[in-house]
């Protein structure tokens, strides 16, 4: 990937909005990788939490929004509990989801979910899914 770095991206409104929604300051992260190390679902993510924050630091909202990682985050807050700089990757994922849902993307209609799937899925998955996907 080739990135052209400019101040306008680094300080873009998009990143500021993400920071406002999540209550996090992405500049605080020093990329130690504790979040990616402890995340129970990072193995399945295309962009693991630390790298996702890195993209936000570089002002690359596109890469962060383009990744599927936000939908995999279960919000267990392992990342936050271990972060030496008190940055919550989970909150940033939540903010990414909120922004995506508000813009009409990623929204799931409960009625359209097949009944057999709903019946078979564990309760926790449903609670988590509704929280994340219904908006």
């Amino acid at each position: 990937m080739n990135i052209k770095l400019v101040k306008e991206d680094i300080e873009s409104a998009l990143i500021r909005q993400l920071e406002r929604i999540s209550g996090e300051d992405v500049k605080k992260c020093y990329q130690c990788g504790n979040c990616s190390a402890g995340c129970p679902v990072a193995y399945a993510m295309d962009v693991p939490p630390a790298q996702m924050i890195r993209f936000l630091q570089l002002g690359r909202g596109g890469e962060a929004f383009g990744a599927g990682s936000m939908w995999l985050c279960v919000g267990c807050l392992q990342c936050y509990s271990r972060c030496p700089k008190n940055v919550s990757a989970a909150s940033l994922f939540e903010a990414l989801r909120q922004m995506r849902l508000r813009s009409g993307g990623g929204h799931e209609e409960v009625r359209e979910i097949p009944l057999p799937f709903l019946k078979g899925a564990p309760q926790q998955a449903l609670v988590c899914g509704f929280r994340k996907l219904v908006g």
Binding site: M1, N2, I3, K4, L5, V6, K7, I10, E11, D25, K27, K28, Y30, Q31, A50, Q51, R54, F55, Q57, L58, R60, E63
Partner: protein, 657 residues
């Protein structure tokens, strides 16, 4: 017949675990000359030492052997105890049955350890029998010091020695003291202005009556040894009479010619008669003769015309002065690696690619731009600045293998200074690791990133090129696994800290060691950090390796402490373990002179009363000799012996094995 006492130490279970000390003591008792022998739990304890003292008196011992640990550990202890009991301390020897015996044997039946313990003890007894009582050597000490280099380390050392009441000669190569620190804008991590904290110290040096300052001078030769050095100093011609000059600056004002300013690192020019910077100490200008038309074409001479006190003297010549000192502090500092070596960063090709030290001048309120950050090419205020760290450092292939230690911190400082001065600016930093080990250092770097918004990119730069008035920087950010490109207005290279050009020459002149990078070697990297192999010569500051200001000041004070310790009495006592030359046997081949690592042996000419040369032989300077024994091994005619370790003693020990 000798009357030797043997004391075998159990060292708790350290020795007793694998060596039967009682048996060793019994075996020793059987040897001729041994009149007393016993073992004990801890010989180094107070009761142990008391026992040793009592035995010396009671049994009228004329030699004591302690079979215990390494002499490095407790030889001093037992020699002191022997001395207290009236026995010449050099008649007390040790056999090492701990580090070299019990600790390396695992046989719990004590069989092998005891055999070796016996052997070592027996050998040492034979050596001891042939030991002569020795007397400590007293050397007179000249209680004034030479400090070479007037940077912050040298200034600190000079001030501290003067504070201790001793005279100091401070030699500085440049027209003013202050060194590299005088160039800096603000200093990490507290951001105090460098000149504001340095210049009061410089003035203190000038006003201190105990400090004799030789600016614009160089040390040419250092002869002699600890307590008794003779130093030759060349005072370069300033073409200005120091006694007459009032420092009014009229000559500088009126001088019509200019040359590139060394102090401003070529960012601007200075007059041909100049002081490096306004707060120079001493505030006496010098004439740059190679660039002065008066010297080249016998034209101008404006400075001499305007000088009120008639201090300009075009006929002045270099003078050489000799000074006698007892100790030398070497504080010659560092320089930056020439950037031209790194073509990929475009230094020298692109005007807006500058070095970190040049950035310091741009950011300094006394610098060429009055503290405004303006790029060299067109004087524009840069909006985007890229800083590249590790230029030359940690680069075995093209640069130096070590970390220059200060660049992480000063680059973080640069990004802050830039952001404070250019509020809308954006700083980028390419780094490999951030090394901020120091009090409040890590916090400082985080502040640069979190508060002042510096964008740190973990990776190297591949290419720098100019495009439409911009400097485009291409590189990698390994954290996002991407290649990045930045259109910058200016690029700052954090170049490696290297030793001063010619540092190895000075090392040879004064007889100290330097490493392959040209940095001076301390005696011991942990326990003797300011001493050198040449006794009486100490180190301070970045001449021994990259170092920041607090560390340099630490070392300056530490060296001063050592000097004052040496100067605490008019004479110093030295261990008498030195080489002696048998003048009748020496055939003057000078192998020893070449072999001696301390330059302690001289070629001595014997003359009769009429002054005729009668012969030559080697002569050991007891003040310099460290008793290493290299000359003994080198001597073909067996003319040299080491006191306390004579050939006779060594052979007796081997024969006893």
């Amino acid at each position: 017949m000798a009357r030797i006492g043997v004391f075998v130490c159990q060292c708790g279970n350290n020795i007793e675990g694998t060596v039967d000390t009682k048996k060793v003591a019994e075996e020793a008792q059987k040897l001729p000359g041994v009149v007393y022998s016993r073992n004990y739990k801890f010989m180094c304890s107070s009761p142990g030492q008391e026992m040793l003292k009592e035995a010396i008196k009671k049994h009228r011992l004329d030699g004591v052997l302690v079979s215990a640990c390494s002499p490095h550990m407790h030889e001093k202890t037992f020699r002191k105890a022997s001395d207290a009991a009236g026995l010449n301390p050099f008649r007390c020897e040790m056999a090492n049955i701990r580090e070299q015996c019990s600790w390396v044997h695992h046989d719990r039946t004590k069989k092998t350890g005891t055999v070796k313990g016996n052997d070592l003890t027996r050998m040492a007894i034979e050596r001891l029998k042939r030991n002569r009582p020795l007397k400590k050597i007293n050397i007179p000490v000249t209680r004034r010091a030479l400090v070479i280099g007037g940077g912050i380390a040298g200034i600190q050392a000079a001030l501290d020695i003067a504070e201790g009441g001793r005279e100091v000669i401070l030699v500085e190569r440049e027209p003013s003291i202050g060194g590299n620190m005088a160039r800096l804008s603000e200093t990490f991590p507290t951001m105090d202005c460098s000149q504001c904290i340095l210049t009061p110290k410089m003035v203190e040096v000038e006003l201190n009556e105990k400090i004799k300052l030789y600016a614009y001078s160089e040390v040419e030769k250092v002869d002699g040894y600890i307590g008794n050095f003779t130093v030759r100093i060349r005072r370069k011609a300033k073409y200005v009479d120091e006694d007459l000059c009032t420092g009014c600056g009229e000559c500088i004002e009126k001088c019509p010619f200019k040359a590139g300013s060394e102090f401003e690192l070529g960012l601007t020019s200075r007059k041909v008669i100049y002081t490096p910077f306004p707060q120079s100490v001493p505030n006496i200008p010098v004439i740059d003769a190679p660039n002065c038309p008066k010297f080249q074409k016998d034209k101008c001479g404006a400075c001499a015309v305007v000088c009120g006190p008639k201090a300009i003297d075009f006929k002045q010549k270099d003078t050489v002065v000799e000074e006698k000192v007892g100790a030398v502090v070497v504080a010659t500092g560092y320089q930056m690696m020439p950037n031209e070596r790194f073509g990929e960063y475009g230094y020298g090709r692109f005007k807006d690619v500058i070095s970190g030290m040049q950035f310091e001048r741009l950011a300094s309120s006394s610098g060429p731009t009055g503290g405004e950050i303006r790029r060299p090419s067109d004087g524009k205020v840069p909006e985007t600045v890229v800083f590249i760290q590790c230029v030359g450092s940690r680069d075995e292939a093209k640069g130096v293998s070590y970390c220059s230690k200060v660049c992480c911190m000063y680059t973080a400082k640069h990004t802050m200074l830039f952001r404070h001065k250019v509020k809308s600016g954006q700083a980028y930093v390419f780094y490999m690791d951030i090394r901020a080990g120091g009090k409040r250092y890590e916090e400082f770097v985080r502040k640069a990133i979190e508060k002042d918004g510096a964008m740190y990119l973990r990776g190297r730069v591949s290419r720098v090129y100019e495009k439409d008035g911009k400097v485009v920087v291409c590189g990698a950010d390994t954290l996002s696994n991407s290649q990045v490109e930045i259109e910058a207005d200016m690029v700052v290279l954090a170049t490696a800290v290297v030793s001063r050009k010619g540092s190895d020459g000075l090392a040879r002149t004064i007889g100290i060691g330097s490493d392959r990078h040209g940095f001076y070697n301390e005696y011991h990297p942990k326990l003797k950090p300011v001493e050198t192999v040449n006794a009486g010569i100490y180190l301070a500051g970045a001449c021994m390796g990259p170092m920041d200001i607090p560390e340099s000041v630490n070392m300056g004070s530490a060296a001063a402490g050592k000097v004052l310790g040496l100067f605490s009495s008019e004479e110093m006592a030295r261990e008498p373990i030195v080489a002696n030359v048998n003048e009748r046997v020496c055939n003057a081949c000078w192998d020893c002179v070449v072999a001696c690592p301390y330059s302690a042996i001289e070629r001595f000419t014997v003359k009769n009363g009429q002054g005729d040369v009668m012969g030559m032989h080697a002569k050991v300077n007891e003040g310099v000799c460290q008793g290493c024994g290299v000359c003994v091994a080198a001597c073909r005619s067996k003319a040299i012996d080491l006191a306390g370790y004579t050939d006779e003693q060594v052979f007796a020990a081997i024969n006893a094995f």
